[in-house]
């Protein structure tokens, strides 16, 4: 396999090349490091290229594999990590925020450590919206590295808030990346950039060493070229971690089973395309035609509850507390987006009783979501209501109350797994996406459904022409 052939090659195929020793981990790392250094600035995708650490890991992988000690499908595979994951060795961890741009930790986040144990090669810390968007940003230009630029159109945004992971994977700068989602920050960049993005069940992946935005909403997960690759990565990063008491003792093994002869049962929430752009709605209807070939599709309903308000209240209250020092000190004035300089002050207006009401309603929401999902394999919906916003545009979001997102509010509020995959193109030639959301701990099922969809479509095989 030639070095130039590896770009836009899924992890599973790269792994076959490495395992059979047709592909050198060192050559692979050098290829992606060169692309990160050469093309990363074009997309504002990179905070730090970790060349020294990457080459050390790649050489170790090469030695181990040559000695017959193959660790598994991530051995020797380059990747990037959203810059909210702590890394040792003098590599900065900036949280995308100017006040922290020189900050260095002396330990690796658990997800980084587990990927190292799997033999993966850390090539870059990737850009992100400052503080993962927790201060109320309303525009793409909300990071000290500049707005995440979309490889499908350099006039459009890639985020957020995992803007760097979205840009970097879509531009072929890394084969996969680790992002985080509190509400939308994996599925949105995956959708904006035409990628697969997996939001695991809350508690599946340790958050130790990850910036806390909202303790009860934050999840870490992969962005990759295919849903299948997301499964391979999740297996490496999942698992109980004593350093994160919210992780559970439920070992995850990606079964990669594919659909086989399975017939899926899909649900669609009534009105889920209300407010979607026309192309998003049309592409979703086309996707449903594909899904009907894979099984059944039925309309379902959730009871009338203020889902967006529940999850938003939890998010604002917890973020306000998590960043209490930064807010109280006034240091938020050092952030990039002007609205991030003051919006967080308003959250002192959240009363304790209302926050607790949101937490109590979260319990109701979780039970209702599970009741609807129990007879189904997955709820399906557009991954996002719109294509990526233009760089000078306003980020409309349910988090700000300027859009509705019941799937996101329920999925994140109840901690449910979801995977987004590309399902076509909309305005300005930008990607649209389809999401599959399942019951808690059913990552294998939503991945199987997404893989089945991708086996019938080729949207994931298309890549930005300029990349």
């Amino acid at each position: 396999m030639r070095a130039e052939d590896v770009v836009f090659t899924p992890v599973r195929r790269l792994a076959e090349g490495i395992r059979s020793r047709r592909l050198s981990p060192v050559t692979l790392a050098e290829t992606f490091l060169d692309r990160l250094e050469r093309l990363g600035p074009r997309y504002n995708a990179v905070v730090t290229v970790t060349r020294a650490r990457a080459l050390e890991q790649a050489r170790r992988a090469e030695r181990e594999i040559a000695a017959g000690r193959y660790r598994g499908p991530l051995h020797g595979i380059p990747y990037g990590a959203k810059d909210l994951l702590a890394t040792a060795g003098g590599i900065p961890t900036t949280w995308g925020a100017a006040p922290f741009k020189d900050r260095v930790f002396d330990f690796d986040a658990t997800a980084i450590r587990k990927l190292e144990e799997a033999g993966a090669v850390l090539c870059a810390k990737l850009a992100m919206v400052e503080l993962a968007g927790g201060m109320g940003y309303r525009q793409p230009n909300a990071a000290f590295t500049g707005p995440g630029i979309n490889p499908w159109s350099r006039e459009a945004w890639s985020g957020g808030s995992s803007s760097g992971p979205g840009s970097a994977v879509a531009a072929g700068l890394v084969p996969f990346a680790i992002g985080s989602e509190t509400w939308g920050s994996i599925l949105s960049p995956a959708g904006n950039c035409g990628l697969a993005g997996l939001r695991p069940t809350y508690g599946r992946v340790s958050r130790h060493g990850a910036m806390a935005l909202c303790w009860t909403l934050d999840k870490l997960g992969p962005l990759a070229l295919t849903a299948d690759d997301c499964g391979l990565v999740l297996e490496a990063i999942a698992g109980r971690d004593p350093a994160d008491p919210t992780t559970v003792d439920r070992p995850f093994r990606y079964d990669g089973a594919g659909p086989g002869g399975r017939r899926f049962r899909f649900g669609v929430l009534r009105g889920v395309t209300d407010g979607c752009e026309e192309a998003v709605r049309e592409n979703f209807e086309h996707s449903l035609d594909v899904l009907r070939d894979l099984g059944s599709v039925e309309e379902v309903t959730l009871p009338d509850l203020p889902y967006d308000d529940i999850t938003r209240t939890i998010l604002f209250a917890e973020a306000s507390s998590a960043f209490e020092d930064l807010i109280e000190s006034g240091d938020i004035a050092g952030l990039t987006a002007p609205e991030d300089h003051y919006t967080a002050y308003a959250r002192d207006a959240i009363l304790a009783k209302d926050y607790l009401k949101a937490l109590r309603l979260r319990g109701v929401m979780a039970r209702e979501a599970d009741r609807v999902l129990a007879p189904l394999d997955a709820l399906v919906a557009p991954g996002r209501a719109t294509v990526a916003v233009m760089l000078g545009g306003e980020v409309r979001s349910a988090i700000h109350g300027t859009a509705r997102d019941v799937m996101g509010a329920v999925g994140n509020g109840a901690g449910l797994p979801a995977v987004a995959v590309p399902n076509g193109f909309g305005a300005r030639g930008l990607p649209t996406s389809l999401q599959f959301m399942g019951r808690a701990w059913e990552e294998n099922l939503v991945l199987a459904a997404a893989c089945a969809y991708q086996s019938r479509t080729d949207w994931h095989a298309r890549h930005p022409p300029d990349a």
């Binding site: 203020p306 308000d309 609205e339 207006a349 607790l356 009401k357 309603l361």
Partner: protein, 70 residues
Amino acid sequence: MTQPEAVLVEVETLFALVRERYGSRLDAEQLAGVRTAIEGIVQAARALRAVRLTNADEPGQRFVPYRADS
């Protein structure tokens, strides 16, 4: 008091609290932004308050007693 009036009173009361705490570091445009954000917070809170729950509806978040050796 009508409902819109009650909402306005709540917004103004909470805004006064926030302005008292942070107003000295904010200009007029930023204060207007804070007020708009508080309107959203009050609207969300009222939507939450409108849902009736029973005494048995606990927060969807468990407290676990801590013990170092377990």
